[in-house]
């Protein structure tokens, strides 16, 4: 019963609104093709004497230019309120009813009056007013507040483009169950919670659909013009009704409406047409003020807010001078699209334009939909996905039928989008779905650009920037070049200057150039230096940037948003792009964008960032948190800390991917990460990951992880100490010595601070160094020296001092090289000895001129080398204090290691080094003499590795022990050497490769043996396949004389377990970016072996950022490896795209990617390629590394996403790879 009364009530109100003659009310939305089509008719019928449009009074002067026939939409009106106010923005397209109305009025000589509250009015900028006014409202559920009326209420965006988000009604509250009415009928209220929900329920099945679209736009085609006006007024009234019920209309809206009523009152007696937001229309009824404002005390506030600046002249002709700068700028469809982030936009302008062109004809709209669909299909096809006329036809059919099912005269945007998704996207979000979305965006958004009529006054960004620079006391046009040093954290002026300069830089406007400033101790600088100059280029670029905004902040934000859009269009942004975007937004002081980018960083970096990117992002967040970035001082610190915590968790995930690392930087990163994690309590995950690294990682990272565990208190120092000692003990073979070097490097890189304090952890190691027999010590010496080399010279110097102390503080004569001083000490020594003997005390024993302490003497009995000398050798310091033979060792090793890098490498005792060897040959001879031939080779190989080509040449091809490490170091040289030298290296490389390949082939062959003998399908042996036999022989069967059917099984068919295993194709896609050397070599060797299998066609595709197909060299790993240039970035998607071209029979193609998965390009592209390959039916495998230990060094997060996309990722040895290939190919 109540619903019926309510319906009557609604109709009554609606009749009043609709029937009102003075003013004649046209409720609109800012963009509405439906109303734009009918508006001229409506106005012509009413014949107004004056037109009120909902625009602030400040824009009066521009209306003529706006309606000028020379002006092509889209264009935008913008108003900036003095300092502190963001721009108010009114974009207009041909389908904006206001523009249509203004054009009509100008053409017919009807005066136009902007009737919205002037921008200069303080009510616009009083953020608390609204909240304070709303607070007492008791039952405000906030469900249907601002979000709902946004589409209708096109108030200018005050600095917050987000407020003007789409017309998505809040999907909260209980979703009403809906009935499907047998007949089409607009049922208004059926006891539903709100009118809006009632309208929505009657109109569409979709929960995310906005009411205006359903009730006005979708029903407009073919409808009567008056019916459209009525529907629009109804929606506006319904929203207002709900807003009032949900807590009331906001105060700013009441103020604006009060102003509109004043404007109306001024025009009393005339025939006035009011083209205003549908939401405001009910407030303009002659009876409205009384019903609307009593409870709010609005008259009072109105007087305070609006009365002050311009008393009694509400028509805008008298405006507060100088406070509002207005401009008319050309606009583009791209910016008009709501997703661009610019305020007051609409989705898919090109489609709206098409609807406008259709002028309300349902058939024309259907034709426009068909045209759009065909265009989209063409674009999807161009992106490499099948989408032909059949799909287009089905999409159009589906859209029209959906419209019919929902009782609409023609398909709306919603139906079109739904149909396209259903028909074209094929349930694929990643690959195809993305292509379809991109095509839709291109085709529906469009690229129309507006132009201003000739003669329109210049306005916008240029004047705004000139004023800004003047205000900041920075050189303007014609000013001299200037250099400034800014201290933005101390001075507010400098802060504003810095932000402005960053914004100019972001807009590509050549004006300021930052010069590098290095902070104290290499840290981040807190001040900045700029070289400033206004050039003609500045002027030119200001014009270009002007389309993006009328003030610098808006232009910069527009530029950055555009960048983000472009990244998104390319499938990104990547993790590094997101971090860079956050930095840019922060330095430009764009709070909203910074928050958005921060959220992006919080999701993207954990999902796809590598460990170093994550650490980099953490560093940026630290700067933000500490307030070191001047522009972003307002950012809530808790939020930043929360994101930092998320990133820390993400970094912990990456730890598993370090297992194969040989890079000291990774050890440092691990230590830094552990320290961070300690603050939040040691994570279960981190401790488990560290444990895995300790047991399964490379020597370097394993040892580092062990030390980190000890530092975090997870392991006992003593246990670590005994392990460290055991490494030295077991270093008896070349491999073990290599491992020792790696382990020491890793452990010392992390444990450097521990060295100075000693402690249990290092005791074992120190003891070993001092107590080993001479020959054992010397055999390990190069490895030890190599391990300690990771420390900076100064650190090694300090360590040596610690060791001296530890050795008992004995005064080391050898450390003094002044003969006079030495003599003086000698004499003193003698005197002392004499004194001792006089008193019959025992004299300390002396050996070879050294006066060691009691402690040290005890340990050096086993050899000639004293403990102190050993340390000097190991640490590579104080070489000149060494005597005789020891000095020769030091010199030979110094030749390899030099003084090292980092703190202290420039000073110290470089002069103490012996003369360098005249040639590498002599050095090699010396090495052999000192260490023996085995160790000599190790040292020379290390020399080759560190870039000494001549050392590599000394290695004897026939005596050398082939290893991948050696091959790796020699090959790394090949790139930078002249051809003649490479020729001399070739025998060496050839022999190593030959040996390794032979070795590998022996191991791999069993795994592949089944592949060479594919079994024939029809060979008898398996069970008889009865049904096939019958079918196959039906043709030769016959009826016998009795009419009975006789089957003659001429060709029996058997079941066989073997699939026809010929012509399988294996595509090895190998990453040759830096850090992948070992895997490249193993890949080449493995592919050479696999290429020898007859049933397999093996392709070798190398990629970094470019792709090279080396398939023709796959049988000859030597030339293949010499061809490959290791280095450069990583673009896996490109490699895969090429591999896709090699696929002919997907079901029999194996694609194996060997990479560290540190993709340098947007992940979406990569995932798309993986999906595409997977969809086509190929078998995929990702190898995080391919080497004998199967220890991967890779980006865990990316790999995780690849697994989800259908490519399993594993670290494999060549043996396991061959076994995998065998399993795939065999039945």
């Amino acid at each position: 019963m109540s619903s019926r009364t309510e319906r009557t009530e609604v109709n009554a109100v609606l009749d009043t609104l609709y029937g009102c003659e003075r003013p004649y009310l046209v409720g609109i939305r800012h963009h509405s093709p439906a109303l734009s089509v009918v508006l001229p008719d409506l106005l012509a019928k009413y014949q107004p004497e004056m037109l009120l449009v909902e625009l602030p009074a400040e824009f009066t002067d521009w209306l003529g230019w706006l309606a000028d026939p020379g002006t092509t939409a889209p264009v935008a009106l913008a108003g900036v309120v003095a300092e502190g106010g963001g721009p108010a923005f009114y974009p207009f397209a041909d389908f904006s009813p206001e523009l249509v109305a203004i054009r009509w009025a100008v053409a017919h000589g009807v005066p136009v009056v902007p009737c919205d509250l002037p921008l200069a009015d303080p009510a616009w900028r009083d953020p608390h007013a609204d909240a304070a006014w709303r607070a007492p409202a008791p039952q405000a559920p906030l469900d249907h507040g601002p979000a709902q009326k946004a589409p209708l209420d096109h108030r200018p965006a005050q600095r917050a483009p987000l407020d003007h988000r789409p017309a998505q009604e809040a999907p909260s509250g209980p979703e009403p169950a809906r009935e499907a009415p047998p007949s089409r009928r607009l049922t208004l209220t059926q006891g539903l919670p709100t009118l809006a929900q009632g309208l929505k329920a009657a109109a569409s099945g979709r929960a995310d659909e906005d009411m205006w679209d359903r009730t006005v736009e979708a029903r407009a085609p073919g409808a009567d013009t008056e019916a459209i006006r009525r529907a629009a007024l109804l929606v506006g009234w319904a929203l207002r009704h709900d807003t009032e019920r949900a807590g009331g209309v906001s105060r700013i809206d009441l103020c604006r409406e009060a102003w509109m009523r004043r404007c109306l009152a001024e025009a009393a007696g005339k025939r006035v047409a009011a083209v205003v937001g549908a939401f405001h229309a009910p407030a303009l009824l002659p009876s409205a003020p009384d019903t609307d404002t009593p409870a709010t005390g609005a008259p009072d506030t109105d007087a305070r807010n609006t009365g002050a600046p311009n008393t009694g002249a509400p028509n805008g002709r008298v405006r507060p001078a100088g406070t509002v700068v207005t401009s008319l700028v050309p606009y583009t469809f791209e910016l008009l699209d709501e997703r661009s982030g610019y305020p007051a936009g609409i989705r898919d302008p090109q489609w709206q334009q098409a609807v406008l062109r259709a002028a309300g004809d349902p058939l024309a709209i259907e034709a426009a939909a068909t045209e759009s669909v065909v265009q989209i299909c063409a674009r999807v096809r161009a992106a490499g996905h099948p989408a032909g006329p059949a799909e287009a036809r089905e999409a159009v059919r589906l859209a029209s039928d959906l419209a019919r099912l929902r009782g609409l005269p023609a398909p709306g945007r919603g139906e079109l989008v739904e149909a396209l998704q259903t028909v074209l996207a094929q349930g694929e979000v990643m690959g195809r779905g993305r292509a379809v979305a991109a095509a839709m965006e291109r085709a529906l958004v469009g690229d129309r650009r507006g132009t201003l009529a000739p003669g329109t006054p210049r306005s916008g960004l240029g004047p705004a920037v000139r004023d800004l620079l003047a205000a900041l006391r920075l050189p303007g046009p014609g000013g001299p070049e200037k250099e400034v040093r800014l201290d933005p954290l101390r001075s507010d002026l400098d802060r504003r200057r810095e932000v402005a300069l960053h914004r100019l830089t972001v807009c590509d406007i050549p004006y300021g150039e930052a010069t590098e400033v290095v902070g104290l101790g290499g840290g981040d600088a807190l001040t900045s230096r700029w070289r400033l100059r206004w050039t003609p280029g500045t002027e030119a670029m200001l014009d270009v940037a002007g389309v993006r905004g009328v003030v610098l902040a808006q232009a910069a934000e527009g530029m950055l948003r555009e960048r983000r859009r472009r990244e998104a269009a390319a499938g990104g942004p990547t993790a590094s792009e997101a971090v860079e975007g956050l930095r840019a937004a922060a330095v430009c002081g764009l709070a909203v964008l910074t928050t958005e980018r921060l959220a992006e960083v919080a999701t993207l970096v954990p999902a796809s960032g590598t460990l170093s990117e994550t650490i980099g992002a953490l560093a940026l967040l630290d700067r933000l948190r500490l307030g070191h970035i001047a522009g972003a001082s307002g950012l809530p610190k808790t939020e930043v800390s929360a994101v930092a915590e998320v990133l820390e968790a993400a970094a912990v995930r990456q730890v598993d991917g370090l297992a194969g690392s040989e890079d000291v930087a990774d050890a440092h990163a691990l230590a830094a990460l552990a320290q961070r994690a300690e603050g939040t309590g040691v994570g279960l995950r981190l401790s488990a990951a560290l444990d895995r690294l300790t047991t399964g990682g490379t020597p370097m990272i394993g040892a580092a992880a062990g030390v980190v565990r000890m530092l975090l208190g997870l392991d006992e120092p003593a246990a670590l100490g005994s392990r460290l000692a055991s490494w030295v003990d077991t270093a008896t073979t070349p491999d073990a010595r290599r491992a020792l070097r790696g382990r020491l490097t890793g452990a010392l890189a992390v444990a450097e601070p521990l060295l100075h304090t000693g402690g249990e952890a290092l005791t074992g190691l120190l003891e070993r160094v001092e107590s080993l027999a001479d020959d054992e010590f010397l055999a390990r010496l190069p490895a030890l020296r190599g391990g300690f080399h990771v420390l900076s010279p100064a650190a090694r110097g300090r360590l040596l001092e610690v060791v001296h102390e530890r050795l008992g503080g004995g005064y080391d004569v050898g450390a003094v090289d002044d003969p006079d001083l030495l003599l003086a000490r000698l004499l003193a020594d003698r005197a002392g000895l004499d004194a001792l003997s006089r008193h019959r005390l025992p004299a300390p024993s002396t050996t070879d001129g050294h006066p060691p302490t009691v402690d040290a003497a005890a340990r050096t009995v086993s050899g000639q080398l004293s403990a102190a000398d050993r340390w000097r050798l190991v640490l590579g310091r104080e070489s000149r204090c060494l005597a005789g033979a020891a000095r020769r060792y030091a010199t030979a090793l110094d030749e390899l290691y030099g003084t090292g890098q980092g703190e202290g490498c420039r000073d110290g005792d470089a002069a103490g080094r012996g003369p360098a060897f005249p040639s590498v040959r002599e050095w090699a001879r010396e090495l052999e003499e000192l260490f023996g031939s085995g160790v000599r080779e190790e040292v020379l190989a290390s020399a080759a590795e560190s870039g000494r080509a001549d050392a590599a040449l000394l290695l004897e091809p026939h005596s050398v022990r082939p290893s991948v490490e050696l091959l790796q170091s020699v090959l790394s040289l090949a790139g930078g050497m002249p051809e003649s030298t490479v020729a001399r290296l070739r025998p060496l490389v050839a022999r190593i490769i030959e040996e390794l390949t032979r070795e590998l082939a022996v191991r791999l062959r069993p795994a592949l043996s089944g592949l060479t003998t594919p079994r024939p399908t029809y060979r008898p042996g398996g069970p008889l396949d009865l049904s096939r036999t019958v079918r196959r022989n039906l043709a030769v069967s016959r009826f016998d004389d009795d009419g009975r059917f006789v089957l003659v099984p001429a060709t029996p068919v058997f079941r066989t377990r073997a699939r026809r295993g010929v012509d399988w194709r294996l595509v090895l896609v190998v990453d040759v970016s830096g850090s992948m050397e070992a895997s490249v070599i193993w890949s080449a060797l493995t592919s050479a072996v696999l290429a020898g299998v007859p049933a397999l066609t093996t392709h070798f595709v190398a990629f970094s950022t470019e792709v090279v197909d080396l398939t023709d060299r796959v049988h000859d790993p030597l030339s293949l490896l010499l061809e490959v240039q290791v280095g450069g970035g990583t673009h896996i998607a490109a490699g895969l795209r090429y591999a896709r071209g090699l696929v002919t029979v997907p079901a029999r193609t194996l694609v194996v990617v060997v990479s560290d998965f540190e993709e340098g390009y947007p992940l979406a592209g990569l995932l798309g390629e993986v999906r595409a390959l997977k969809e086509s039916g190929c078998t995929l495998l990702g190898c995080a590394s391919l080497d004998d230990d199967a220890r991967p060094r890779y980006c865990v997060s990316t790999a995780g996403q690849l697994v989800a996309a259908g490519m399993p990722v594993a670290a494999l040895s060549p043996m396991e790879l061959a076994r995998w290939v065998g399993e795939q190919v065999k039945p």
Partner: protein
């Protein structure tokens, strides 16, 4: 006597039986134009599946014997109404419909309801497995008859698809991606030519079986699960795709899990004695790990395995059974981490680390936030660290 009743009782009633009265009612209620071969109008099909508000009343002229005059139609599929509308319009155009989505999202139920409403039967169904052969999509032979009498229409064993073609009904193919690609491709020609050729009967009128109006195919598939074969592009082009998402609402999912776990325990006549809060914690953990984002918006690493509602039901019932059979042994909550670990690790043992990460992040923070239940779970961390 008892045996007879047992035989008659079905574990699950097909939709056309369970809702026979509603279907009959809707056929009379909405007598608008129907697509060829349809029992109901498209709008009535949508109403049948997505429900109607209030009680519907038959128009005066349509009242008939044996039909209720008023009928309440409840929503049978919890989800987007627009999705149902698109499905119905797709079928009305006689185009193939493919429902995709993660396991446990009621795809099969939707396909059953659609076919029952459209053509009155949901039993023309092919269950896709790796062992499905082309015969099950086209036709096979009764070899005894074939050998005895030669190729004849009597010896031909029609597949559900062939039956649907010859009667103008909806054929259902469940789990189409589990069939081998070459088997799937048998559907390509069926969906484009709309007829099946029987070359063995060449020369007779039975050489081709044309599809009657109304014939179409509803298939369901998991695109992301393991052990599925990819569909060929040609086949994909012949289907409209609809993605069915997981249940959007925590409360709804918790209720569903509780209800189904109760049903499992009912079958063995034991009460479900697990606290609502424990079930909610379980469902929350499942949702967090499934979405890669906790309810609070914290980042969670997603394991590679599918965390479906069905598995949540399985865990809830295991916990319920443990509580029923071993009462007082241990707190039911203490069983939860172990079960979670089992689910997370089932595809890739390395995913155990991701659960550790979940404990480090979301569980720890909730525990710090003071939630008692989550604090208990945090203290149970030893279970998952091995």
């Amino acid at each position: 006597m008892t045996t007879e009743t047992v035989e008659r009782v079905r574990q699950v009633d097909p939709a056309e039986h369970a809702y026979a009265d509603q279907l009959a009612f809707l056929a009379a209620y909405d007598d608008g134009p129907r697509p060829p071969g349809w029992r109901l109008t498209p709008r009535a099909v949508v109403t049948f599946i997505a429900g109607a508000t209030g009680v519907l009343q038959l128009p005066k002229g349509a009242r008939r014997e044996g039909l209720p005059a008023r009928c309440a139609i409840e929503a049978k599929f919890v989800g987007d109404r627009a999705l149902v509308e698109r499905c119905v319009v797709t079928l009305a155009g006689e185009r193939g419909l493919l429902l995709v989505g993660e396991p446990g999202t009621a795809k099969s139920m939707l396909s059953e309801l659609l076919s029952a409403a459209v053509c009155g039967t949901s039993e023309l169904v092919v269950q896709g497995t790796a062992g499905t052969t082309e015969d099950q999509l086209r036709y096979g032979w009764n070899y005894a008859l074939l050998l005895a009498h030669g190729p004849s229409p009597e010896a031909l064993v029609p597949s559900p698809v062939l039956t649907a073609m010859s009667t103008g009904a909806v054929a259902r193919v469940e789990e189409i991606t589990r069939c081998l690609p070459e088997v799937q491709d048998a559907l390509v020609s069926i969906l484009s030519d709309r007829r099946i050729a029987v070359p063995e009967l060449a020369g007779t009128e039975h050489a081709t079986v044309p599809a009657r109006p109304g014939f179409t195919v509803v298939a369901t598939a998991n695109l992301r699960d393991r052990g599925v074969s990819e569909m060929s592009a040609a086949l994909k082009r012949r289907f409209n795709f609809e993605t069915v998402g997981p249940i959007p609402d925590l409360a709804a999912e918790t209720a569903l899990v509780t209800r189904q776990a109760k049903a499992v325990l009912d079958r063995v006549s034991t009460p479900f004695a697990v606290d609502e809060a424990v079930v909610e914690a379980l469902v929350t953990a499942f949702r967090d790990l499934r979405a890669g984002r906790s309810v609070e918006g914290w980042d969670v690493e997603r394991p590679s395995t599918v965390m479906s509602t069905a598995e949540a039901v399985a865990v809830a019932s295991s916990i319920g059974l443990a509580a029923a059979y071993f009462p007082g042994d241990r707190d039911v909550l203490s069983l939860l981490p172990g079960h979670l670990l089992g689910v997370v690790r089932k595809d890739d043992p390395a995913d155990g680390a991701k659960l550790l990460g979940y404990w480090d992040g979301a569980v720890r923070r909730r525990a710090q936030g003071g939630a008692r239940l989550w604090r208990q779970l945090w203290e149970l961390r030893d279970v998952i660290t091995d």
